[in-house]
């Protein structure tokens, strides 16, 4: 075969190779150990010396040609052929694969989860109690006397004469202390109920987290430290915390806990009512009457309690201005968290 027809044949065979296998066959045919181009090269030494340079140049040119054509063809074949037997290229890989319906935890669950994790890390155990509660646990045992104005702040849904929907999570404290001996360190969380008109900042149903620590020699100083650590964990280590005297029937001394406004950092803005402080929780030392109700000796044991609204914390944390959004369950709201 002369050089020209050999070149034509190379070009044709490689061009016509429909797949890897055919291409490989073509490679063997020309470049294999007994391939046509290979034998051409081998035969140079048998040619007359005068023709050798020309023959050498031609053979080398054909070898290079065959190699580069195979390389090109291989790329073409790779592009046209699936990489896997189980694969067909999609018509348009940019199409979305998911309908956009992703799952999200409710923002209250998220916030509660954060709160819980912090407290568990500080040695608090989770406790719980019923939402339909006996009046005794909700009020009397917590040092709310009958017919006392302190009850006015907790408008109550009644079920029977002595059953009600708990107005706070504090009854869990009493139930837990009745069942356990100190030292104890618990948080209790859940739904609470107030019979009041609903508006952007008031709901008839909301959620609280309550903490209680009882041991010998627990002091107000311990309360301040625990609460400060918690708030700085939740809102950032630069947050300042202040305790100001207040009143709750079941704690004494009692304190309202404020933290520096995260919007203005304490200089005063509309979020904090220009005071630089945001009220975040109520707290105090467990009142001796509560200890007496559960049979603890207040001269031996002391303790602190604190409580906060999960809804309120979520509102503060995320700038939510309407408490009704939480139970409204608008997915356009829920899916933001």
């Amino acid at each position: 075969m002369d050089a020209r027809s050999l070149e034509e044949s190379i070009r044709k065979d490689i061009e016509n190779a429909a797949n890897d296998q055919a291409l490989e066959e073509a490679r063997i045919k020309y470049l294999g150990r007994r391939g046509l181009v290979t034998s051409l090269l081998k035969n140079i030494k048998d040619a007359p010396p005068a023709e050798r340079p020309k023959l050498g140049a031609t053979s080398n040119r054909l070898k290079k040609l065959a190699e580069s054509l195979i390389e090109e063809k291989l790329t073409v074949l790779r592009a046209a052929q699936p990489a896997s037997r189980f694969y067909t290229p999609p018509h348009d890989a940019t199409l979305p694969a998911h309908d956009g319906l992703t799952g999200h935890r409710h923002v209250l669950s998220k916030v509660f989860g954060e709160i819980k994790d912090i407290f568990v890390g500080m040695g608090y155990t989770l406790a719980s109690g019923p939402q339909v509660e006996l009046e005794y646990y909700n009020f009397q045992a917590l040092n709310f006397p009958d017919e006392h104005p302190s009850r006015d702040e907790q408008d109550t849904f009644y079920i029977t004469d002595d059953m009600l929907l708990r107005t706070h999570t504090s009854p869990v404290q009493v139930r837990y202390m009745e069942e356990h001996k100190p030292p104890l360190k618990i948080i209790a969380a859940g739904r609470v109920f107030r019979n009041e008109s609903i508006d952007p900042s008031h709901a008839a149903e909301f959620h609280q987290v309550e903490g209680l620590y009882v041991d010998t020699d627990v002091a107000l100083a311990d309360l301040k430290k625990d609460v400060e650590i918690f708030i700085q964990q939740l809102f950032g280590s630069k947050t300042q915390v202040r305790f100001r005297p207040s009143f709750f029937p079941f704690t004494e001394p009692s304190a309202e806990v404020d933290m520096t406004c995260f919007v203005c950092r304490g200089s005063g803005c509309s979020v904090c009512g220009k005071t630089g402080w945001i009220e975040i929780m109520g707290s105090g030392m467990v009142h001796p009457n509560v200890f007496r109700a559960v049979g603890y000796d207040p001269d031996i044991y002391s303790g602190f309690a604190f409580g906060m609204g999960v809804d309120r914390v979520a509102m503060i944390k995320y700038g939510i201005d309407d408490i009704r959004l939480f139970l409204g369950n608008d997915l356009r709201f829920l899916s933001q968290f």
Binding site: L95, D99, L101, G103, R105, H106, L108, S109, G113, V120, M122, G123, T125, L126, P130, Q131, V132, L134, E147, H148, S150, D152, E153, F157, I159, T160, M163, L165, P183, K185, R191, F193, I198, E205, D215, A219, L220, A221, D222, K224, K225, D226, R242, F243, R244, P245, S246, F247, E252, P253, E256, M285, P288, P298, D299, S302, L327, N329, L331, L334
Partner: protein, 798 residues
């Protein structure tokens, strides 16, 4: 409680500016919610004197005045008020002044005559309600001097949040005491004239029950002239939110705001028999009160009565008939102490709430009665004329002074602050608590009558703490962690379930625990099902709060409907919440079951390109349940029954202990109620029962050493036999060598008998000890096939 700083200054010196005072009071426990600046500060509002007043040449009703508004500065001003006259000192707004009502004063021509300012009325300046005439200033004043300060002196009013334990802070005197303690100052008590004048009384006071009424002081004032109050009095009351009525009523309110003692003034002439009786109301007794409303009384209500009938509701509100009116000249001042609970029950039963009842409910200082009555009498004489008459002080239950001891060691223990006995005594004395006894460890103090909140040692520890400063307590204190904790296993399970579902694309929702009960008819729960009788709420806020929910499903449907309204039509949601179940006639706390409800809903027709099916079906929700159970190793053993009702689409998983899962498709009847026109599948899981069924792998089971043998069977089940029945029998008879099985095909149609179903089942056999021989498996298969045939009529498909 609104307190005026200028009023407070009557009792205590205030050594700081308002900003510092606000901070200090807040940190003492008197949370200042607001500071209101008062006063009339208007440029170009000056004192003028009317030199001449004559009729306007072109208008009968207008007066043309020449007014001197500064030494030698005389201007023509047109005035429309009927009471303007020469010689009066008046407030004049000069051109350039802007009035609180928005009016801007300009030089103008009124009916052809130039007017260079305006003589002002109360309403124009916002200092009163009188619009009929101009303000005429009492006395002589420097002409051209600012008139605003004369009309309304500058003042700052603090709004203080008073907690229910501190009734003493519902008065200026009480707040002054706290300020005195704060800055180590003394309270200046008012100086009063001879309090113990001994006129023979012309009336009697009978107290029926010394508990209901601990003390009743009646004091007479004769010959008064009832009239509007002087400006200073009405303004002072207005500053603290009390509306001016007349000079006598205003004085009684003034004394209440100052001393905290509610007072009432009777028109003495209207008290028949000159007898004051303090007694409970007779059932059916009626009274028309000062608020214009008629009240039907009951025996909870304590009344003041004359010899015929009730004339006032004790501690709550006066009666209209015996009230002070413009004709009144003879007055009886009531300054009494009524029992907190009696006043509270009474006013609640009548549905009224007044400044007086608010204070009595919280506890009023009974030692203050006489002083308050006397102060009021003196003020009335001074302002409304008249003369102080007789006083009757009926005091059946005198205040008994008590002392409380506070221990240094206990104070340190509770506060965690190294306070010493002298520190403690010093701090308490600043609050006006007299030290009656003192040792190295214990300080005893006497509790003043105005501090009903101080009952035991802890109350004193709190006083020490708040005056010492909460912010000073615990500085440098170290965090102690003496306990270790982890979440309870059940809580972890519920948390895990939530996270699993979220990852599966479900959105968590949290719904109200209440229901209006409308689901009762629609859901067709079986007779005897506790969900049919939800627990009613006694005092619901509205119809939505009528009952406690017995199922999460209705709330979820409501959520689905609302979201569809918003255009969100593809929904996968779940909720973990409590349902409340109890038999009717609740005698003990109801069962609160932790329930998980899933709901899935898609509108008809494909609306996402990648979904192969357009309608949701049973297996979509069932798959979610099975994945959940599988993931949490919930073992649905052979004692769990799965029931499915083809007609209604309802399914349950249940055991002897009750229902574990219940679900199905929302029926058309329910869908209509919730206005849903797309399918909703739902399932509710009893989480506690589900948790019980979770199996835990305690130790690793060795991975198999020997190969598995696989056999495919095509089993034809006759009509009425379910796959689950076949599977149960198959598992039972195949024995322990059967490792797993899977249904790879379900077929109905040609080549098999009508109404029968062919199931392609792949069985995996394996032994942990050896390689299984084919003959061994064949024997098992033969046995299984013959058992299935005998027990269920299942045939092997040829």
């Amino acid at each position: 409680m609104l307190v005026s700083l200028s009023w407070l200054k009557k009792y205590v010196h205030i050594p700081t500016d308002t900003e510092q005072l606000t901070k200090d009071l807040t940190m003492l426990g008197l949370n200042v919610e607001q500071c209101i600046e008062r006063g009339l500060d208007i440029d170009e509002l000056v004192v003028g004197r009317v030199l001449e007043a004559k009729r306007h040449p072109n208008a009968d009703r207008l007066t043309l005045c020449r007014v001197e508004v500064g030494p030698g500065d005389v201007r023509d001003i047109v005035c429309g008020a009927p009471n303007v006259a020469a010689g009066q000192f008046v407030p004049v707004a000069l051109p350039g002044a802007s009035l609180p009502n928005g009016m801007k004063i300009k030089r103008s021509k009124i009916r052809g005559v130039e007017s260079n300012g305006m003589i002002c009325s109360e309403i124009e300046l916002g200092v009163g309600e009188d619009a009929a005439g101009i303000i005429v200033l009492d006395g002589e004043h420097e002409l051209g001097s600012p008139a605003g300060k004369l009309l309304m002196p500058p003042d700052t009013v603090l709004e203080i949040e008073v907690t229910p334990n501190r009734p003493d802070l519902l008065s200026h005197l009480g707040v002054a005491r706290e300020i005195a303690a704060l800055y180590k100052l003394d309270v200046k008590l008012p100086r009063l004239g001879d309090i113990a004048r001994a006129d023979a009384p012309d009336f009697r006071i009978d107290i029926a029950d010394a508990t209901d009424c601990a003390r009743y002081v009646g004091k007479r004032v004769s010959g008064v002239r009832v009239a509007p109050s002087p400006t200073w009095l009405s303004q002072r009351l207005e500053a603290v939110g009390v509306q001016s009525v007349n000079n006598v009523v205003d004085v009684s309110n003034y004394v209440m705001m100052e001393l905290g003692q509610p007072l009432h003034a009777f028109d003495f002439v209207k008290i028949r028999g000159a007898t004051i009786q303090v007694r409970r109301a007779e059932p059916g007794e009626r009274i028309k009160a000062l608020d214009g409303k008629a009240y039907e009384l009951n025996k909870e209500v304590l009344v003041i009565a004359d010899e015929r009938e009730s004339v006032a509701l004790a501690g709550i509100i006066g009666g209209e008939e015996s009230a002070v009116s413009e004709e009144t000249t003879e007055i009886l001042i009531e300054s009494a102490n009524f029992h907190p609970t009696v006043v509270r029950k009474g006013r609640k039963s009548l549905g009224v709430d007044t400044e007086a009842s608010y204070r009595f409910e919280r506890g009023v200082d009974r030692e203050m009665c006489h002083l308050a009555a006397h102060m009021a009498a003196e003020m009335i004489c001074e302002i409304a004329g008249g003369e102080i008459g007789a006083v009757v002080d009926n005091y059946p239950t005198p205040y008994e002074a008590k002392s409380i001891a506070i221990r240094e060691s206990n104070t340190r223990r509770i506060l965690g602050s190294p306070l010493t006995t002298p520190d403690i005594a010093g701090l308490l004395e600043r609050f006006g608590l007299a030290v009656v006894n003192r040792s190295d460890e214990v300080v005893s103090v006497e509790v003043p009558s105005y501090r009903p909140d101080l009952v035991e040692e802890i109350d004193l520890i709190e006083e020490v703490a708040r005056l010492y400063g909460y912010d000073r307590i615990g500085r440098g204190w170290n965090f102690r962690c003496t306990t270790f904790a982890r979440a309870e296993a059940f809580d972890q399970f519920v948390e895990g379930v939530s996270n699993h579902l979220t990852a599966r694309g479900f959105n968590e929702v949290i719904a109200s625990a209440f229901t209006d009960g409308r689901e009762l008819e629609d859901f067709e729960w079986p007779k005897g099902d506790l969900r049919r009788c939800p627990i009613p709420v006694r005092n619901p806020l509205n119809v939505n709060h009528k009952y406690l929910r017995t199922s999460l499903v209705p709330g979820m449907l409501e959520i689905i409907r609302r979201n569809i309204d918003h255009g969100v039509k593809r929904l996968r949601i779940y909720q973990v919440g409590k349902v409340f179940l109890a038999p009717e006639g609740l005698t003990q706390l109801p069962e609160e079951e932790s329930t998980l409800t899933l709901a899935m809903s898609l509108p008809g027709g494909t609306d996402f390109w990648y979904d192969s099916r357009s309608e949701l079906e049973l297996f979509d929700i069932k798959r979610e349940l099975e994945m959940l159970f599988g993931s949490f190793r919930v073992e649905l053993g052979s004692d769990i029954c799965y029931d499915f009702d083809g007609a209604t689409g309802r399914f349950t998983y249940s055991s002897k202990e009750g229902t574990l899962v219940e679900g199905g498709i929302v029926t058309d009847r329910v869908a209509r109620r919730y206005d849903l026109d797309q399918p909703v599948w739902h399932a509710s899981v009893d989480l506690a029962k589900c948790y019980e069924l979770c199996t835990r792998q305690e130790r690793l089971e060795a991975l198999p050493d020997y190969p598995a043998s696989k056999r495919d069977l095509s089993l034809v089940g006759p009509k009425g036999v379910t796959y689950r029945e076949i599977e149960k029998a198959l598992v039972r008879h195949a024995g322990r060598l059967l490792e797993s099985l899977v249904v790879f095909d379900v077929y109905r149609g040609e080549n098999i008998p009508e109404e029968c179903t062919a199931y392609g089942v792949r069985l995996n056999f394996r032994s942990a000890e050896r390689t299984l021989r084919d003959e061994e498996i064949d024997r098992i298969i033969d046995k299984v096939i013959s058992k299935l045939k005998n027990e269920l009529g299942v045939e092997l498909r040829s």
